[in-house]
């Protein structure tokens, strides 16, 4: 479990990081907290020629309240975000999800954007990004572009980020008055990747449910109206549509059951008289 040889560049600026990416493209990988990348390097599942370390860049270490959104810089750790005093009011679903992201030791290193870019189908933060309809800001030598969540994560470990692009920040829409959220997940041990994770949002009559751990990426289903007596049927169809397979942690049938069960609990929790999650 030792990595194959690679060059290491500790970037002093976003510009430098982007120029290294422009030079090496697909042969370069960005290192921030390293909580996913380092094990993959050590197992030689990933063999980049160059590692660009952006973890120490002060310009990326900010959480900014932008009014309607919160911008989380690429060097902000999951622990930093969990400790942000405004989190509970600005991003209540993220506040509920973060304790499930690994363990606090890994949250002290792992970054929010790193988790989003790693694009594990079971990860909690991409799930939140998907539910909230957030976006990822990508910088490259060609300029800056912003990709909405639905277009960003494309499948297993795969995103719309081009090899020469650096994810500089993720933007998460803040909770608006009257919006209610819930987050629930099923895992065999605390801190494991979710077998199934759900995040729900209710805004007026509309209900959104994001489901992770089943399809190849978190998927969001939005109902313009979802009366209480329609929830179970809707979730059952959702469970069958999402599919999901058998692996060593669960069966497809168990996953469907968890989508129905957790989905119901999460949606109920967002009802005005619900207890919240």
């Amino acid at each position: 479990m030792k990595p194959a040889p690679f060059d290491y560049v500790r970037a002093d600026s976003v510009e430098e990081a982007v120029s290294v990416l422009a030079e090496h493209g697909d042969e370069a990988r960005v290192l921030a907290g390293g909580q996913s990348l380092m094990p993959m390097l050590n197992m030689r599942l990933v063999r980049p020629e160059v590692l660009v370390d952006i973890g120490g860049l002060p310009e990326l270490a900010h959480i900014e309240d932008e009014g309607d959104t919160v911008a989380v810089g690429a060097a902000v750790t999951q622990g930093d975000l969990a400790d942000w005093p405004e989190l509970g009011t600005a991003l209540p679903v993220v506040a509920a999800a973060l304790p499930h992201v690994g363990h606090f030791q890994t949250r002290n290193r792992g970054t929010v954007c790193g988790s989003i870019c790693h694009a594990d189908p079971s990860s909690e933060l991409p799930l939140c990004l998907a539910l909230l309809g957030g976006e990822v800001e990508l910088h490259s030598a060609h300029g800056v572009r912003t990709v909405p969540a639905d277009e960003f994560q494309r499948g297993v470990l795969t995103t719309a980020k081009e090899p020469d692009e650096l994810a500089v920040r993720a933007r998460l829409p803040k909770a608006q008055d009257g919006e209610r959220f819930a987050f629930l997940e099923f895992q065999h041990r605390h801190g494991d990747f979710a077998v199934v994770a759900v995040a729900a949002k209710r805004s007026g009559d509309s209900v959104s449910l994001a489901v992770g751990g089943v399809a190849d990426r978190p998927e969001v289903c939005r109902w313009d109206t979802l009366p209480g007596d329609a929830v179970e049927d809707a979730l059952n169809d959702l469970a069958w549509t999402l599919g999901g397979g058998d692996d060593i942690h669960a069966t497809a049938r168990h996953r469907r059951q968890l989508v129905r069960h957790l989905g119901k609990r999460a949606i109920d929790a967002t009802a005005a008289d619900g207890a919240g999650a």
Partner: protein
């Protein structure tokens, strides 16, 4: 428990504020100091912790090595079963810093096969020779200046395989048509023995009732924090080797290594360091690696060091055998069991390594557990399959046996309409029957099993638990209570393994029995006491317990005694039983320490008697003084007598040798060889454990939650209640893992799935429920010096089956299989799943458990006529453009292509050498593809079919594929390989469309978003 959504919001801030109350449980086992002792029985804090808690332990990796020491890495098999066609290490050997490469061919030339305790058809050399037989099997060892280079070199070694069919189920592997692992045998069942004790045929024929049950016990282990570690160096002086490793014993295996290396045993000098980071049995079968490292070091002409990494440990170190057991009981309608039949298929994986197949024979003498059952039939199949070979794991054959026996006791209770507790009590051996000779040979030394049960029921408050159950059931909740009893053997008889042989074979080989333990106590010129011993601790606290025992004998305190338990076979007193396994310490090492310290005491008493002018019999040792029993003022300091033996030999009584150093080689006469009737007293001392628990099953999720768990263990004299309690709590934790989480998973084709701790789930403190310990009245062993018995394995025996019995009670089901993964439990509840509404077509890609295959099917419109698409697919140049990641593709004969492709998902990519054959061609309509790809990430075999249908001026491509993946990615990426394969197929097809001139923008996640939108749209 596993459902963590309901955590209170306060959890978020938990790391900032201290917990409301101490998480440390109250100690359950009281101190109990016997009149003849002052330290044994006390909760003496662990001496070991003074260094361990400061990070000052001394593990193999802390020991400095010689300048120039090399580091080893292994090339390992990605296949469960394959012929080795060729090994090309030339590129690795040409790499700077690489000193030597050793293959199986070298091992077969330079070493002898490692022997096992009976004649068998297996040639085992530590590296694969001619064939690989499990995923992760070491194939080539390479030594380089550092581990990074060694792994780089290993990557450059090209092994060509011819893949063979594999067999993984122990019963199926015995079938005549199963693939054979070892060519010298015509069956994978390499040993079958049939035992009849008493008259089971009559017992079953005359039984009021009989029933049977088949259980499948899973494959698991207990994973130590520190993995295997070896430093080996060839010795020119002796022609042998000097080895430092964390080998745990038994040292009988030292002879196995020396014989394999073709050297005198004395020329294999093995040292173990001060500390070992846990073992739980696993560090027994480090020995094949020691042999390989010795050969590698000799070839490299330098010392070679190897620290096993976690991937290596989980795939290829040591596991407990999984087992299938058919258990049959003859019983009366009152629940009395009169006869038992056990048919075991014990799955030992690809090779037998000494002392395998020991676990099944270690428990043979107690096949009837703690029950008065006088008619027994046992059939043992020892089976080879394409899985990691087995070794010792805490519990050593007990969990598998007791799962069968105790599940049967619960079944008998259900079938006779009785309380399971009543059935257990009725069948237990009575107090006045001890010492009790079990029908298969174990001499159960002491106990009052019914009293232990009664004390557990009383102190553990079973009455309250029953009320909780009744209240839960009244609310319609699924709640059950389970019980389990176990006899806990300790200090293994080295002779029991011979029970695998027939009586005739045993006669030819000569007797084997006993279990010699060695401890040396010395007193130096200033009266300091030093203790060394052969117990090879792995964290249990042996230093502390030995200091307590020796201090009591010599009238000192534990702090006056320095205990050093690193070992050196060239200098220490040791015999073949040396090591740390099967609860050997409390009966054996403690007795040896007691005996050695008693000899020191006797010698010092004789020297002191002459100085005190009293008879030897009247000399006593108290508080650092040696004095006359009836006149404490007539005393001389302990150190003076110690000093005299060194400073003035002439002052010693005539028949007293100078110096003070006594080595005890302690054995117990009760450990006799297997009899002609195959009876064997498998262990010296037998404790008793009894547990009960209440569990609740969540019908919505399948989660089983332990509501309460009560555990009672009678282990005779307790040397140190803190150490004993640590063992019980530790055993509970690992048994909880075995019950709920831990399993090494293999697919039907031998693909290994549990390569990291994200797949092989070990419980953490967060998962463990509190356990309520009951301390029952102890019944000391009459056969050990201090009356102590082992305590380290009890919950391995009881917990899995106690919880299983509770789940059986909650759900009213018969077949309970571990681990209790919620998906499995959900299936037992047989609730009908709601079907999807008509608007929703189920995803066709869900696999089936046990099938290694990633399969799928679909269709796609390509904007070119079938003839043109057909031509593209058969043109290597165009295919090279279409196949994602294709670096090179060339025709290799008619309709065959070879090439190199880079495949993966996201950043996870590997270069694969690929071969594709097109068969069953019907131009331009359909064809079948068969392909194989091999690379450092693993190995893949697949097949597919496509059909081209002219449609709308273009072609509708219909396709089906099935891919099997083995090796590294399959072992560590199980959650994602299906999605990754889908992604690759999708990329290929879109690339095909573009090559045909079409426009195929990739759609995220295989078009699921569209289906989801339709789902909601249909509803709105």
């Amino acid at each position: 428990m596993p459902l963590h959504g309901a955590r209170p919001v306060g959890y978020l801030r938990a790391r900032l504020s201290p917990p409301a109350k101490s998480l440390m449980p109250d100690f359950a086992i009281p101190e109990q100091v016997r009149p003849e002792d002052s330290h044994v029985g006390r909760r003496q804090p662990r001496i070991e912790d003074r260094s361990l808690l400061r990070g000052e332990g001394g593990f193999v990796d802390d020991v400095p090595v010689k300048k120039g020491t090399l580091h080893a890495a292994f090339v390992r098999s990605p296949h469960a079963h394959a012929e080795i066609v060729a090994i090309d290490a030339s590129a690795a050997l040409a790499m700077p810093g690489v000193f030597a490469v050793v293959t199986g061919t070298d091992m077969a030339a330079e070493t002898d096969p490692m022997i096992v305790g009976f004649e068998n058809p297996i040639d085992y050399y530590g590296l694969a020779v001619d064939k690989v037989r499990y995923v992760g099997e070491p194939v080539v060892a390479v030594a380089a200046t550092d581990r990074y280079r060694a792994e780089d070199a290993a990557d450059l070694i090209k092994v060509t395989y011819n893949v063979l069919p594999a067999t993984v189920d122990p019963v199926a592997a015995c079938a005549p048509d199963a693939p054979i692992l070892h060519p010298r045998s015509d069956s994978n069942c390499v040993s079958k023995r049939h035992f009849v004790h008493g008259d089971p045929d009559t017992a079953f024929a005359e039984a009021e009732r009989t029933t049977d049950l088949t259980i499948r016990y899973p494959r698991n282990s207990i994973t130590p924090m520190e993995t295997y570690a070896v430093v080996a160096e060839a010795s020119s002086e002796t022609g042998g080797f000097d080895v430092l490793s964390n080998f745990q014993g038994p040292f009988s295996v030292h002879t196995v290594m020396a014989l394999a290396l073709r050297i005198r045993t004395a020329a294999l000098r093995h040292r173990s360091p001060k500390n070992s980071g846990g073992s739980f049995g696993s560090k027994l079968v480090i020995f094949p690696y020691i042999v390989v490292l010795c050969v590698l070091a000799r070839k490299a002409r330098r010392p070679v060091k190897w620290i096993e990494d976690r991937l290596e440990h989980l795939s290829a170190s040591s596991v407990a055998p999984n087992r299938v057991t058919k258990v049959e009981a003859a019983y009366r309608s009152d629940g009395t069991v009169t006869g038992l039949r056990l048919t075991h298929w014990d799955d030992h994986g690809a090779y037998l390594r000494a002392p395998m197949p020991a676990p099944i024979y270690r428990m043979h003498g107690v096949s009837t557990n703690g029950y008065f059952i006088r008619h027994l039939e046992v059939t043992n199949h020892i089976v080879m399959t394409n899985k990691c070979p087995t070794g010792a794991v805490r519990g050593f054959g007990g969990p598998q046996l007791y799962f069968a026996v105790e599940r049967m006791m619960q079944r008998v209770a259900v079938l006779t309409g009785q309380d399971p507790l009543a059935v257990i009590r009725r069948n237990l051996i009575a107090a006045d029957q001890f010492p009790y000779k079990a029908i298969a040979g174990s001499l159960l030394d002491s106990g009052d099993y019914r009293r232990t049960v009664d004390e557990a029921v009383e102190q553990g408050d079973l009455a309250a638990l029953k009320k909780r159950r009744d209240a839960a059931r009244a609310e319609g909740r699924l709640y059950g209570i389970g019980y389990a009893a176990c006899v806990e053997p300790s200090q293994s008889n080295m002779g029991y393994i011979s029970t695998v042989k027939t009586g005739l074979e045993r006669e030819r080989a000569g007797p084997k029995d006993g279990a010699v333990a060695s401890v040396t106590v010395s007193v130096d010129a200033l009266g300091s006491v030093n203790v060394i011993g052969d117990s090879v601790p792995q964290g249990q606290g042996h230093q502390t317990a030995l200091a307590q025992i020796v201090a009591d004998r010599l009238g000192l305190t534990p702090d006056d005694v320095v205990v050093a338990l690193d070992t050196d076979t060239a200098k220490d007193g040791w015999s073949i039983a040396a090591g740390n396994y099967s609860c050997r310490f409390a009966p054996a090492s403690a007795s040896a320490a007691h005996q050695a310290a008693t000899r020191v005491r006797e010698k010092m008493a004789r020297i002191a008697a002459a100085n005190l002018n009293v008879p030897v019999a009247e000399v006593e040792f108290t508080d650092g003084k040696i004095h006359a029993a009836n006149n404490p003022d007539n005393a001389i300091p302990f150190y003076r007598i110690g000093g005299l033996a060194h400073w003035s030999p002439s002052s010693l009584p005539d028949d007293v040798e100078p110096g003070i150093r006594e080595t005890a080689m302690w054995n117990a006469p009760e450990l006799t060889p297997t009899t002609a009737k195959d009876e064997i007293n498998t262990s010296l001392a037998y404790g008793f454990g009894f547990d009960f628990c209440g569990v609740e099953v969540d019908p919505a999720t399948g989660v089983v939650t332990v509501d309460q768990y009560v555990s009672a263990h009678d282990c005779g004299t307790i040397l140190n209640p803190g150490l004993a309690e640590g063992q019980i709590r530790g055993s509970w934790a690992s048994a909880y893992g075995a019950t709920f989480l831990e399993e090494f998973r293999y697919e039907d084709d031998g693909t290994f799935r549990s390569g990291t701790f994200a797949e092989y789930l070990v419980p953490t403190a967060a998962e463990l429920p509190e356990i309520r310990l009951v301390h029952p009245t102890p019944h000391p062993s009459p056969y050990t010096r201090l009356g102590a018995k082992g305590i380290a394995e009890g919950n391995q025996y009881t917990t899995p089956v106690c919880v299983a019995n509770a789940v059986a009670d909650a759900l009213g089901v018969e077949d309970i299989e571990l681990p209790l993964k919620p998906a499995r439990v959900l299936a037992w509840m047989e609730a009908d799943e709601p079907p999807p509404s008509a608007a929703v077509a189920p995803d066709g890609e869900a696999g089936e458990p046990g099938r290694p295959t990633i399969d799928g099917s679909g269709e796609m419109q390509v904007p070119a006529p079938p003839q043109q698409v057909w031509a593209m697919l058969l043109d290597p140049e165009r295919m090279a453009r279409i196949v994602p990641g294709c670096e090179r593709l060339e025709a290799a004969g008619d309709n065959s292509f070879t090439g190199a492709v880079v495949l993966g998902a996201g950043p996870v990519r590997g270069r694969f050498e690929a071969r594709i054959d097109l068969t069953d061609l019907e131009a331009p309509r359909r064809a079948r593809l068969v392909g194989a790809a091999d690379g450092p990430l693993g190995s893949s075999r697949g097949s597919g079919e496509f059909e081209l249908v002219a449609q709308d001026g273009g072609t509708l491509v219909r396709y089906r594929y099935a891919v099997e993946l083995s090796g590294k990615v399959a072992a560590v990426g199980g959650r994602m390989v299906r999605g990754a394969a889908r992604q690759l197929i999708d990329r290929f097809l879109r690339s095909l469309i573009r090559e045909a001139g079409g426009n195929a923008e990739p759609e995220a996640a295989g078009g699921l978003s569209g289906r989801l939108k339709r789902l909601v749209g249909g509803r709105a």
